[in-house]
Point group: C2
Chain length 346, copies 2
């Protein structure tokens, strides 16, 4: 597969203090990945004594070691606070391993805003040519994976930033997830070109003449049935979109559960429907995918959910492995550097 193709072995740094139940799921998930991929190298970043104690419960693996980080960034910390806290957090040290070339990727289930800020301002920085990196979310929808970006890093976006989000998402889907021709859409309030706010309308024009496989605007109601693979949104809209969808899902399932408890549905009906409710949530559960890339920073960074369990952490590590193996970073660099000099295809 050439210079940018599959690499012989992958070195991944993992935040030992990411999940809400830190460090247990983080450590166990890393151990699961290390056992599953013996040719790759894994580094847990966190308080040495605590992580070693946690690791002592599992068989020793030669390809899993620990790098000490004196403290961890709390999930509730603001990005500004995280930046002020200095350079000794597991986020900082993990990202620095990537910056220095000691690791090919960093994986964390921790604070998204802090990860974004530390990656951007203190360690990796942007890929040359990138206006604004984007936080993405990957959702399994009807058997396919859909990338949504930006979901919170950039609340006011210029049209050309939105176009770059499409390019970033498209290249990720091609390289890390081996999709041949990812379809890219703009989230909007109608299918017609004239629908949307000013930035969306201007981005539509730019996307129409881009080399992306741009399929136009998409509305929320069409997401579940369309063939779209990358959905572009500004970070304010994207964050609200995901939170709204999640809230509505919780609302419906909670009402059904409460009706079961209140006896409005017989307990027999409740027993029969409970697995169906579970499957509804599982069908759209981002934890299945494990984590999603922070795209546009100059390194592979995968951010997962704080409520991840060990299996989810393992899945996030697998996302990172795929991005490294697929040459995602090299392709992004070549595309965005090259674009300044001569047009290239994403």
């Amino acid at each position: 597969m050439g210079r940018l193709g599959r690499v012989s072995h992958v070195r991944i740094a993992i935040d030992a203090f990411g999940t809400d139940a830190r460090p247990k799921p983080d450590v166990e998930g890393s151990w699961l990945a290390a056992r599953e991929f013996p040719e790759d190298e894994f580094v847990l970043v966190g308080d040495l004594a605590v992580v070693e104690a946690e690791l002592s419960q599992y068989d020793v693996l030669a390809n899993l070691r620990v790098v000490h980080a004196p403290y961890d960034v709390k999930m509730t910390a603001s990005a500004v606070d995280a930046l002020k806290e200095g350079d000794e957090s597991s986020l900082h040290i993990g990202l620095r391993l990537v910056e220095s070339g000691s690791a090919d990727a960093f994986v964390t289930m921790g604070n998204t805003g802090a990860t974004h800020s530390i990656a951007m301002l203190k360690t990796l920085g942007r890929i040359h040519g990138i206006k604004r990196p984007a936080i993405s979310a990957l959702y399994p929808i009807n058997g396919r994976v859909v990338a949504f970006l930006d979901i919170g890093a950039n609340t006011d976006c210029k049209p050309d930033w939105l176009v770059q989000f499409g390019e970033l998402g498209s290249i990720y889907m091609k390289t890390a997830l081996q999709m041949e021709a990812p379809k890219v859409a703009l989230m909007s309030i109608g299918e017609e070109q004239a629908k949307g706010n000013a930035a969306v309308q201007a981005a539509y024009d730019l996307l129409s003449t881009s080399s992306l496989d741009f399929v136009g605007n998409i509305e929320p109601k069409d997401l579940l049935t369309s063939e779209v693979n990358v959905v572009i949104m500004d970070g304010f809209v994207g964050n609200l979109f995901l939170k709204t969808f999640e809230s509505a899902m919780s609302y419906v399932t909670n009402v059904i559960r409460s009706e079961i408890r209140a006896g409005l549905v017989s307990s027999v009906g409740g027993l029969l429907i409970a697995p169906a409710i579970g499957r509804v949530r599982a069908r759209l559960d981002p934890l299945e995918i494990g984590g999603a890339p922070l795209l546009g920073v100059d390194g592979i960074v995968i951010i997962g959910h704080g409520r991840s369990n060990a299996r989810t952490v393992r899945n996030a590590v697998q996302q990172a492995r795929q991005a490294v193996s697929g040459g995602t970073l090299q392709r992004l660099r070549a595309y965005f550097n090259g674009k300044e000099h001569h047009g290239t295809h994403p």
Copy 2:
């Protein structure tokens, strides 16, 4: 209740060609309202022959008559097309009845964009002092009514427009729905003042020093449990929010139904759960309220859903009656006119 209080009788014009199943639900709903409120006057606006034929199925009511409008605006027509179509549509003629003072309010289940455009540009215009009228939605949430605005009229909003949306919503809740102190919130991606896009952050500052009962930012997950009565959003975000929520509700209920059909839930379980699914949807069904006001135009205009039935049309007419009786328009005029000269409370 004084000059701005309850009026002796209310005159309401109703679009006979609003619903998807036009004119049957529109005519029947108007007839139901006319029978229920014999002291008020109701005018159906639409093709005279068609509406008279439809009305002939019901008992004659002295307080329900028809005003001829040669054609109707299709639900799929763009606002621009609707404006081009001339002045003889049921929307145009109905709104003109309000403009001329022949009716106190106009109710339609038809094309929202066209209604907004015709009201703004061809008939009523804005209330003096209003920057941008807003389309609202009223949802019943846990037994209280919540107004969301704007939900589509203004896709890019300046901070002071957002503040006016809060004032418009607050005055509507006070006058039409008799709420004493409506709580107003800004939809955003975090509770803290610093969360949100630039317009939301600037609006937060303005709202904090306003005379509104401003309770800060609200996130989607808190909507269902909070005490908020008015939620401010720009029209792009608002439209996406409602469509996303609706899509998620449909998705969950459809998946559960499909699992029942596929036998993954036994048919016994399916029978037991079906009423619960129905109740989930009913709990958040805007059709219960019937319609929501177009706020900021110089007249009372209530817009309902195209999928309304006769009972919903009747409910929308009742919204209009309450706004007229409650002196909503007079209060809006006094507030926004007065504000230019001296501060008043909404």
